[in-house]
């Protein structure tokens, strides 16, 4: 069992978590054209919803709890758009205002989570599962399920975007909102659906992050947010497939480098990749100049 393949296994798990999170962020950015800085706290809230269902009162199986929490976070995303971010985005032309509001929302959510659950580290109750040899890698049952969930979600999203009317409308809106609106697409409805998907993906991502890390803390989402940014920017912000590619690249490079240099510098590796991307290809690997500008 070489160190290299062990870290590749970790890299795949991290990439899976990262891909789900990055797509949720990228999807919402593509439609609404502003970054949600509270996304990390959406993840944390989702993780704690799962925790409540799984541990405190209800003792539901972790995977079912995760699904319920994802739906709840989807609803939460819709509400936040309806009552907070949507009105701000419509009222002010300059994106500064809505960016500051999402930044503020992040502070509010983080501190609400802290006041409810405190700063203690918490654990999900889930079966430890046995380790399996997959090729040269060694993965636990839970890690395999996390990867399975991620792949299934990505496949479902790909099918939706490419084959359904909804997906087509979303892609149209992401390319050019005004043009989509004049073509008779109900942009408000699409925005609402997108926020639901983004919130749900954040809920899943937060929970599987908790599962793969083995614990959950209120601030975990906020620190992870930066790794998501690195993946999203690397792929080209707003591009779904770019986000997937970026997630795999960042996930693998941070985990493999962690095996050979000090794992404490994981974040810095992601940041170096981010800066290099910005210097060499500011629109990302797959980003088209036309779409990133609108």
């Amino acid at each position: 069992m070489s160190l290299f393949w062990l870290s590749v296994g970790f890299g795949l798990v991290t990439s899976s978590v990262l891909a789900v999170a990055a797509i949720g962020l990228s999807l919402q950015f593509g439609i609404t054209n502003y970054v949600n800085f509270a996304y990390g706290d959406f993840m944390a809230l989702g993780a704690f919803f799962t925790y409540v269902l799984n541990n405190e009162v209800f003792h539901i199986n972790i995977w079912i709890a995760l699904a319920i929490a994802a739906l709840a976070m989807g609803g939460f995303g819709v509400l936040i758009n309806q009552w907070l971010l949507g009105p701000f985005a419509r009222r002010f032309q300059s994106t500064h205002y809505v960016l500051i509001v999402t930044f503020g929302l992040s502070l509010v959510m983080l501190n609400v989570i802290y006041s409810i659950w405190g700063a203690d580290v918490r654990f999900y109750s889930l079966a430890a599962g046995s380790a399996h040899h997959v090729g040269p890698m060694l993965l636990t049952t839970n890690q395999l399920i996390v990867m399975g969930i991620s792949v299934a979600l990505l496949a479902a999203l790909h099918t939706t975007l490419k084959t359904t009317r909804l997906g087509k409308s979303m892609r149209a809106m992401s390319d050019n909102t005004s043009l989509a609106m004049t073509s008779g697409i109900d942009t408000r409805r699409i925005t609402t659906i997108t926020w639901f998907l983004s919130g749900a993906l954040a809920g899943v991502a937060g929970s599987v992050l908790g599962i793969s890390e083995g614990n959950l803390t209120p601030a975990a989402g906020e620190l992870f947010l930066f790794v998501i940014f690195a993946a999203v920017i690397m792929g080209g912000i707003g591009s779904i497939y770019g986000a997937m590619a970026g997630a795999v690249f960042i996930g693998m490079s941070t985990e493999i480098s962690a095996a050979y240099i000090n794992p404490a510098y994981k974040l810095d590796i992601a940041f170096v990749v981010l800066i290099l991307t910005l210097l060499i290809r500011p629109n990302g690997l797959i980003g088209r100049p036309g779409t990133t500008e609108a």
Partner: protein, 349 residues
């Protein structure tokens, strides 16, 4: 009692300085600097290591120059300024607003992570402590009298900084920066080098951040990485928005209302038994809520930026709330596409 009051006075003046620095970057020039607290932290750390003697058992850090008060703080301010040049060179030239915000917020997380892990730089996660209290020994001050002395000293520094900032903002530089904020395409068309101007704005603002940070570490005597997570940047933004972006009087009002009354006054309340930190959590959440309400109901802040008559070429001055629409009008007037004028800040495509 005097201890409490002068602690509040200190934070009022210190955040006045910090808010003035963010104001020239965001309020005047329109750079959404979400890494602001990172510059404060560098100022604080460098002031700390410049003030501490060379070898203190139990702590690891660079420099250790043992410099006296104004020199170590100045060095902190210059260090923050140097960092600003580096950051601006990487980011300002090519990034539009939200990319810039993402990169800056990431930067502030990476600074945090790096200082936390790289112990020999600024003593890692333990942070610096036992930073010398300026003139406490030579004047023979006790804990209480030092607080009073240092609060007054900070007041004097704040007054000087305010005077400097006042002059900068009234100078042609200030007008150019406002022009870039309101319509950088038009400013560039008039022959202004927008990148150089933004760079200057970043440097001046970061110098203020560094000085404010330097005063902070000397007031408390210690500083550790958790004091500068991105949430702290938001507090400075709250000071700026509540007070009124774009003018220094607003910064003072904001510092008084947000930092002094909303954040530091409740900190003196006793903990609720069994719930440590609950008051602080509620308090920070409240700051976020206040900021959102403020942005919705009075986006120009308590003390709005005054209209200036100097721009008499038909380019409308910013009315904050109407800013977007006016920007657009100006852009159309200048014959520039709206999309472009509204969304990019760089010219690197």
């Amino acid at each position: 009692m005097a201890y409490y009051i002068f602690t509040l006075v200190f934070f009022l003046f210190d955040y006045f300085i910090l808010a003035m620095g963010l104001n020239i970057q965001y309020g005047i020039t329109g750079i959404l600097n979400f890494a602001y607290i990172g510059f404060v932290a560098i100022g604080a750390y460098v002031t700390g290591v410049a003030g501490l003697p060379a070898n203190v058992p139990g702590q690891h850090y660079i420099l250790g120059l043992g410099l006296p008060f104004p020199l170590n703080t100045l060095l902190g301010g210059l260090a923050a300024m140097a960092l600003a040049v580096l950051v601006a060179l990487i980011t300002l030239r090519r990034l539009r607003t939200d990319y810039l915000a993402i990169v800056l917020i990431s930067l502030s997380l990476v600074f945090y992570d790096f200082c936390n892990n790289y112990v020999s730089l600024f003593n890692g996660a333990d942070g610096l402590y036992n930073v010398p209290a300026p003139y406490a020994k030579s004047l023979g001050l006790g804990v209480n009298s030092f607080i009073i002395f240092f609060a007054c000293l900070t007041g004097v520094v704040a007054l000087i900084m305010w005077f400097v900032m006042h002059r900068v903002l009234r100078a042609p530089l200030g007008r150019t920066l406002r022009a870039i904020r309101d319509d950088h395409v038009a400013a560039a068309a008039l022959g202004k080098n927008t990148f150089r101007m933004q760079l200057k704005s970043m440097m001046i603002g970061s110098f203020f951040a560094g000085i404010g940070g330097g005063l902070l570490i000397q007031f408390g005597g210690s500083f550790n990485p958790t004091a500068w997570l991105p949430g702290e940047t938001f507090v400075v933004f709250a000071v700026l928005i509540v007070g009124g972006a774009g003018n220094n009087v607003g910064m003072f009002v904001g510092a008084l209302l947000v930092e002094t009354l909303l954040i530091h006054l409740p900190a003196f309340l006793p903990d609720i038994p069994g719930h440590p930190g609950l008051i602080e959590y509620f308090d920070l959440a409240l700051v976020g809520v206040v900021l959102m309400l403020m942005l919705w109901f009075r986006p120009q802040g308590i003390v709005p930026e005054r209209l200036r008559r100097s721009a008499s070429f038909g380019a409308p001055e910013r009315l904050d709330e109407e800013a977007g629409r006016l920007d657009q009008t100006a852009a159309i007037a200048a014959g520039v596409g709206i999309e472009q004028a509204d969304h990019d800040t760089g010219n690197g495509r």
